[in-house]
């Protein structure tokens, strides 16, 4: 098992969680829960939507990274890349989600500050994978 196998596992579990969260958001919409759909709560709605979208997308990126490592010979997966990708997959959705729990009118809550950290981690691992793949060829 290489380092990126755990990304494969993380990715599938993460996909399960965030697809379920998507169902949760549909329920909030379906029952027109004011805390989510009222005019004054549009920032919360945006944050939860972004949490759902990023969680799902990052789950797919983790799966893609795991499959890449398995299928390409001579591609040396680094522990830092694997961990960064997992943390990006956690911090992105959690940051957006926490940002939507408490909102300040036009601004999300403090949790939103996790998002730039997640973005840096994601940028690092995508760049690293791209470079390493280029070298392995």
């Amino acid at each position: 098992m290489n380092n990126l196998d755990r990304n494969l596992r993380f990715g599938w579990w993460s996909l399960l969680i965030f697809l379920s969260l998507g169902g949760g958001l549909e329920i909030l919409h379906g029952f027109k829960i004011g805390w989510y759909v009222d005019v004054g709560n549009d920032m919360r709605r945006l944050m939860f939507t972004l949490a759902h979208a990023h969680g799902t997308a990052l789950a797919l990126v983790n799966i893609a990274a795991g499959l890449t490592a398995r299928n390409i010979k001579g591609f040396p997966p680094r522990p830092s890349v694997s961990l960064s990708l997992i943390w990006a997959g956690i911090l992105f959705p959690v940051g957006f989600f926490l940002g939507g729990i408490v909102t300040y009118d036009g601004d999300p809550g403090l949790g939103i500050w996790l998002v730039p950290i997640a973005a840096l981690l994601l940028f690092y691992c995508v760049a690293r994978i791209a470079f390493d793949l280029s070298k392995s060829n």
């Binding site: 004011g34 009222d38 005019v39 004054g40 709560n41 300040y104 601004d107 403090l110 500050w113």
Partner: protein, 551 residues
């Protein structure tokens, strides 16, 4: 507020399209999302269409404004749309105006007057003659109307670190005026910049205002080029003397004789004259809110229809938030049952003694009822606005017994005829309108009995003032047997009398209960007819002075 006229904003556009008034006919036509009005004299051909460019008003009444071909100068369409009734009526008959007043607004009225308050940061920009080159920051009443200019606020808050520092440390952003953080008088002036009777300090300020717009900004402690006119306050005496000479009816068309405001839309005058105001904390937002926390559509609709009040502020809580000691034993204070309408603070201390836009509204000068206010200034007191069937003598006796108020000298009529009967028959048009409206007020109907209202409301449907006729009709519709009674309150005299006669016959033959007993103070015979000697005498004493209660 003012809006660009479109199919979505122009109320009544899908309804009546042809109108006639004073020998002229008007036809409204739709072309795409635009509306045009063509006009002709009776028998003539329709002229070219003038576009309806703007509409003012969105809660109660809406007035369309037409292009004039003279730049940004607008002309009033002579009909307004009464939103609740879903009907058009001549503008001059949507305010309490003398019957001989044919045109209430005119060319340039929007530019020179209406836009002062119905837009945000308007500049009339008078050019010459009756030409204007008006500009606005926003057509609606938007953020800057209450929070002052936002340039600096927007620039500073592009920085997310600053925003989060404010979210987590300070309660409010100092780069923006927040009325909730101002003292009561300064906060109140934020609303009072429009919701007051104001006048210019001098001609220079008036010219400056017309060119540059108001220099008042929310957070200022005076109106800049203008001042709030309180007739009996010692300030600005020179300016008020000038107004008395230049426009002798200015004060009587806006204030009761003791200086209390009598028109709606000028609530800050009442607030400023209230004893509560002297405490320094009392302001409009003590009871009202502009940004309700409950934002479901149902809550917003209720909030918009009930005076934009904060939660619970439609109850005694509005007063008890300060006057806490009265709450636990309210009966000792009110001498009415605790659950009755007589124990509701508003009903005694903010009765419906202001009028505008075809309806009465609670006065915003917190006061207490006296018989003296009715005797000396003609203002219907709170007691007799509910106890419509009682005399002033009855009220004087109660107020003396309960609050040791002195009993004023009262006439024979004041001892035998209900105050409301006197006001609706011999009062001035403003008093008549208040009582005609008040006969639909539920607490008054419950306490005063409504069987005797019919003849007076039917009689008032022939009043010379359209506003009185309208309210008499609407009140009649709240009574059994008349809920769908049709009446065109803008009809000619002959039609009005015919409809009133039909209504009276209907009441007499179909609606009146067989064994009904009318209170003796109602001045009605046992069969429901007016006691002619009393009625004719009161009618001959009617106060016929011209009166114009706009808003």
């Amino acid at each position: 507020m003012t809006q660009v006229a479109t199919a979505a904003t122009l109320f009544g556009a899908a309804q009546e399209r042809e109108f006639s008034l004073d020998g002229r006919q008007y036809k409204m036509e739709q072309q795409g999302d635009k509306f045009f009005v063509r006009m002709r004299s009776l028998g003539g051909d329709y002229g070219p269409g003038k576009q309806v460019v703007l509409v003012t008003g969105s809660h109660t009444l809406q007035i369309p404004w037409l292009e004039t071909g003279e730049g940004r100068t607008l002309e009033q369409f002579p009909f307004a749309y009464i939103i609740a009734e879903k009907m058009w009526a001549p503008v001059s008959e949507t305010f309490l105006t003398p019957p001989d007043l044919k045109e209430y607004y005119s060319i340039g009225a929007w530019n020179g007057a209406c836009m002062d308050c119905h837009v945000t940061q308007g500049q009339s920009r008078f050019v010459a003659g009756n030409k204007w080159d008006s500009r606005v920051a926003e057509l609606g009443i938007a953020c800057e109307a209450c929070h002052s200019e936002g340039n600096q606020h927007i620039a500073l808050n592009r920085n997310p670190v600053r925003r989060f520092k404010i979210h987590l440390t300070a309660k409010s952003d100092s780069s923006m005026t927040n009325p909730a953080r101002l003292t009561g008088p300064v906060s109140g002036l934020d609303c009072g910049q429009c919701h007051s009777v104001w006048a210019f300090n001098n001609m220079t300020d008036k010219i400056d205002f017309n060119r540059q717009g108001a220099n008042f900004r929310p957070g200022h402690d005076d109106l800049g080029q203008r001042f709030v006119v309180q007739p009996n306050a010692p300030d600005h005496s020179e300016q008020k003397d000038f107004i008395r000479k230049a426009e002798p009816d200015f004060f009587t068309n806006r204030f009761w004789g003791d200086g209390m405001i009598r028109v709606t839309g000028r609530e800050f005058n009442g607030l400023q004259a209230s004893p509560c105001f002297r405490g320094g904390n009392f302001s409009c937002i003590s009871c009202h809110e502009m940004h309700p926390k409950q934002t479901q559509q149902v809550s917003l609709t209720k909030w918009a229809r009930t005076g934009q009040l904060r939660p619970e502020m439609d109850s005694d809580q509005a007063c008890l938030q300060c006057h806490k000691a009265i709450g636990p034993n309210i009966t000792a204070h009110t001498h009415h049952e605790a659950a009755s309408s007589g124990s509701r603070c508003y009903n005694c201390h903010m009765p419906h003694n202001t009028f505008g836009l075809l309806h009465a509204m609670r006065g915003h000068q917190v006061s207490w009822p006296t018989v003296q206010e009715s005797v000396a200034y003609g203002r219907p007191n709170a007691c007799n606005l509910c106890h419509l069937n009682q005399t002033l003598a009855w009220t004087a006796e109660k107020l003396h017994a309960w609050y040791n108020q002195p009993v004023p000298q009262l006439s024979q009529d004041d001892q035998t005829i209900a105050a409301a009967v006197q006001w609706i028959v011999k009062g001035d048009a403003g008093q008549r309108a208040l009582i005609a409206w008040g006969m639909a007020w539920e607490p008054a109907q419950k306490i005063a009995g409504r069987d005797w209202f019919y003849p007076y409301l039917i009689y008032s449907m022939t009043d010379p003032y359209a506003a009185v006729r309208f309210d008499a009709w609407k009140s009649l519709q709240t009574l059994p047997g008349f809920s769908d009674f049709p009446f065109t309150y803008t009809s000619d005299d002959h039609s009005l009398r015919e409809t009133a006669a039909r209504a009276f016959e209907k009441w007499l033959r179909e609606v009146r209960p067989p064994n009904v007993i009318f209170p003796p103070q109602s001045a009605l015979d046992s069969d429901g007819h007016f006691q002619q000697d009393v009625f004719q005498r009161l009618r001959s004493e009617r106060d016929n002075k011209r009166i114009l209660l706009a808003e």
